[in-house]
Amino acid sequence: MVSAFLRGLRISLAKPHFAIALWLATAALAAPLALPISNFLHAELNRSSDAPALVAGPGFRWWQTQRRVHPELVGNLPEKAEQIVSPTGVAGFMDFDGAQGIGAGFLGLAMLGVAAHAFLLGGIFGSLRDERGSDLVIFAREGSRRLPAFLIVTIAAAAIAVAIYHGVWWAAGKALEEYSTDLPSERAAFLLRLARLALLLLLLTFVKLAADSIRVALVERPDLPPVTRYFVGVGSAIGRLRELFSLLALFALASAALFFLWTRLSVGRAATTTGGVLLLVVAQQVFLFLRGILKVGYYAGVREVFLARATVAPTPRPPDMPRPEEEPPSPDRIEA
């Protein structure tokens, strides 16, 4: 499935405004947190004698102290975020009720991000289908037009994913806790945990692939009744599981490689002056743009996979530009 991913990447590179839109949306979502974070850090560090050490390195003690002294800053978000990927896991969103300040703000923005993402995907898939080319106007129009349906898909996928996590990781983990400790060796317990993890990842992957296929089907099969399109999407995910899974794996690998490259480059090390920080910010945003390119490449790839085996591909007919219908002359309107 390298070819589908590469075709998707080519499309993504040919239409960089998709990646720009993704990047802008992410930056806009993160922006409300930038000011409180910045204000806090400037208030704590600008005259602090600890500041030079924090330019040089992470400063474990400084951050731990700040978290303790300012519990209102993030609340329990870091602990809970870590707990999500711990062997015990969290029961669900309710566990985050101790988030405060920036931490609670982050959670709110993440929810908003889910809605924004539905809009962005609607824009991407709708624009890719539009034969008249794609520009920001079409992108915005398609995003708005498809938002309700895409939002339903996103929310349903999120709900199913949370339910799967709750069941396979948290609840099953609790149910198997005693069985696991009764196993004769840690190796056996490890294999059991690995099996649960593999099942969790497989199910979550399928939910993701099904959601993406449904989105493509919603756009590409306007000839079908709305409810049928959902089933076609799920059927498409099942029928093309190997291709889609490979595509997602390639996307994940490419993203991981990009992150690895980022950590190797250590761009932040040079950011000891204002100019250095500006360069760092630019590099960071370029990184996010490249992430956007990969992401659009993946979604375009999903569409390619769908279309490669699609049976019907009717001509698009944008709803805001209805085809003018000729009215046959009515005998009573014919004037003598």
Partner: protein, 654 residues
């Protein structure tokens, strides 16, 4: 019930003079000859002990008090269960895993049966359902200096292990398992119930223990002291015979799966120590890490606190699912623990091995009362462990668990002693250091470890490492085989350093006061001459505008924000590399430092050398006169970037 043959065998043991006995290192007070039998299917140990106890007080003892600690696991109404809620050190009680100990017969040397007079006491909380302390009135009081011998038959039902003692599958960790006499002091019996957040207290004596186990456990039994004999017994069984002089407890373990490894350690002034490692097969790869940690500990503790006086050390690596047995200390035997995927940077099993070995000193040799002054054991050991770990392994690193697989962040350093004890500040003002069962909860009890370690590190920095090491060494050597108290340590420290530390320890260690010094402000402005009526050369003139001078007027305002006041150093750092140091007694709430027409002040520090490690917030200890946004800008950029990435990831998940 097999008490009759057991009693006969124990009697034979009592009479037999053993060639393998070594000279006691201290006069015994409570010595035991125990003959016991493990029933691995019913998870019970049935035995007879012959106790020889000497009254070392000046008052006669009309009764004896015993610990029957396995009764802590008897039901949900015991004091231990009520306090712990069935959870101990991150391990939970399992349904059906109850434990208990019953005394079936007690006779004195004259053959008088004392069993019927046994009664249970709850001296700490009056809980009528707690049976962890028992009293046996004697037919005749034991006079001062006299000894008494009792024969006690008992049956111990081991719990499913979650709090130190018990079984998992074929693994047995048998601790606190026999009727054990309490400590008689001049004030009376010092005998506490088994509590959730407490350890133990006992007198020194000699132990001779023969353990009868099924033959599949042959060669896989470890215990306190030397294995002096291993002999086959009828019925497919084997008897493992241990002996150890001058210890105050006996624990043993067995598991047919144990890999048995041996090593040896020698150092000048001490016996050659045979190290036995009872290792789980799946931890085979960490064998050498265990041994290296043990040798490091033997060398470092021996050098500082006197040579390890015993010729054996047994290290137990509990199996998966029996973590509750790990991380414990018993005389000449320690239980540690590690995991399948523990990279070297995680320092596991190194940390726990060195810590538990440290208890061979601040528990094994200096047998303080862990109920009443738990810091003398756990706290002192934590301090010493931190020193040894830092010297042998350097900084540690944070660990992130990804679905149970540890990931070590090597780029972030946790620098001992302060960084590794930051948990103290979470509960610093919640409880004073008090008797172990009087803490509000387990989190507060953790102060016993962290606060003590920080206080001792503070004293070390105040008096200098060399002098402090000398004081600790004197304390450890002087009180070996005794029951030292806090005042004993303070007396040695005061003597060694030439300064009375009693007030310091009372206010700092034993109180719940908080310590926080801060530099509230630091400024430096161009100096100006005086304004107003100014006398120059005998003439008074009115000056409206002060003349700008070459120097700078600098000011630093230092505050004491906590309740606790200690003398603290102040450092003012000026342009041109000049510095000014002063010591503030810290009594008032604040102090202002002014320098007129001097060099430009760059920054002010309170406690610049990081001596007062109990300072709750060190991020306010240094302040610069000029603002520099470099660090804030850098971390803002990073925070913004990672916020974007996390949001991006969250968005694309669905």
């Amino acid at each position: 019930m097999r008490t009759a043959p057991l009693r006969r065998a124990a009697g034979a043991l009592l009479l037999a003079a053993s060639a393998a006995s070594a000279a006691p290192l201290t006069p015994p007070i409570a010595s035991y000859r125990i003959r016991c039998r493990l029933d691995d299917s019913s998870k019970t140990v049935e035995g007879t002990e012959l106790l020889t106890w000497r009254n070392t007080t000046s008052r006669p003892a009309a009764s004896l008090r015993f610990h029957l600690y396995l009764n802590a696991f008897r039901n949900t109404r015991t004091t231990f269960f009520r306090e712990s809620g069935g959870e101990s050190r991150s391990n939970r009680f399992r349904a059906g895993g109850w434990g208990s100990i019953s005394v079936s017969r007690v006779t004195d040397a004259a053959g008088a049966d004392l069993t019927a007079d046994l009664r249970y006491l709850s001296p700490d909380d009056g809980n009528p359902d707690d049976r962890t302390v028992a009293e046996i009135p004697l037919a005749a009081p034991v006079a001062p200096g006299e000894a008494i011998r009792l024969s006690i038959d008992f049956v111990s039902k081991l719990p499913r292990v979650y709090a130190r003692s018990g079984w998992k599958g074929d693994f047995f960790f048998v601790a606190q398992w026999f009727p054990k006499i309490a400590v008689l002091e001049e004030e009376g019996w010092n005998c506490h119930q088994y509590h959730a957040h407490s350890e133990f207290f006992a007198d020194f004596g000699d132990y001779d223990v023969a353990i009868d186990v099924p033959s599949r456990f042959k060669g896989k039994v470890g215990g306190t002291g030397r294995l002096i004999e291993e002999s086959d017994a009828p019925g497919g069984r084997v008897i493992e015979h241990f002996r150890q002089e001058s210890v105050h407890d006996f624990a043993w373990t067995t598991d047919p799966e144990f890999e048995v490894h041996a090593d040896r350690f020698s150092a000048p002034g001490g016996p050659s120590v045979a190290i036995t490692l009872l290792l789980q097969p799946e931890h085979h790869s960490v064998r050498e890490r265990y041994f290296r940690a043990a040798r490091t500990a033997l060398a470092a503790f021996g050098q500082r606190y006197g040579a390890y006086p015993y010729d054996v050390l047994t290290i137990v690596d509990p199996p998966w699912g029996a973590g509750g047995a790990g991380g414990m200390e018993y005389p000449t035997m320690i239980s540690c623990g590690t995991g399948l995927f523990h990279p070297e940077g995680l320092l596991s099993p190194e940390g726990v091995t060195i810590h538990e070995f440290g208890h061979q000193y601040f528990y094994g040799l200096l047998a303080s009362n862990e109920f009443e002054e738990p810091w003398l054991d756990e706290g002192f050991t934590t301090y010493a462990t931190t020193r040894v770990m830092g010297e042998a392994y350097g900084d540690s690193h944070p660990v992130f668990s990804l679905f149970g697989f540890p990931i070590v962040f090597r780029s972030i350093a946790i620098r001992p002693p302060l960084d590794s004890q930051l948990r103290y500040f979470d509960t610093s003002t919640r409880d004073p250091l008090t008797a172990s069962w009087k803490f509000e909860d387990g989190r507060n009890y953790a102060m016993v470890y962290s606060k003590t370690a920080l206080v001792l590190s503070t004293v070390e920095r105040m008096v200098g490492t060399k002098r402090f090491d000398a004081a600790m060494g004197d304390y450890a050597r002087e009180f070996r085989f005794r029951h030292p108290k806090t005042e004993d340590f303070v007396a040695v420290l005061s003597r060694t350093t030439g300064r009375d530390w009693s007030d310091f320890f009372r206010r700092v260690l034993l109180s719940s006061s908080s310590l926080d010094y801060a530099v509230e402000s630091a400024t430096s402005v161009r100096s100006k001459g005086p304004r107003g009526l100014v006398e120059t050369g005998g003439r008074v003139s009115e000056v409206e505008r002060g003349q700008t001078r070459k120097g700078w007027d600098s000011e630093a305002l230092v505050e004491r924000r906590g309740d606790l006041s200690l003398p603290v150093e102040i450092l003012l750092r000026f342009e041109g590399g000049k510095t000014y140091r002063s010591t503030w007694d810290g009594q008032a709430r604040w102090k202002r430092f002014r320098v007129e027409n001097g060099p430009r002040l760059l920054e002010a520090w309170v406690d610049p050398d990081e001596k007062l490690l109990l300072d709750a917030d060190r991020t306010n200890n240094g302040r610069r006169t000029r603002s520099d946004a470099a660090a804030a800008n850098l971390w803002t950029a990073r925070a913004f970037f990672w916020t974007e990435n996390l949001l991006d990831l969250f968005m694309e998940l669905w």
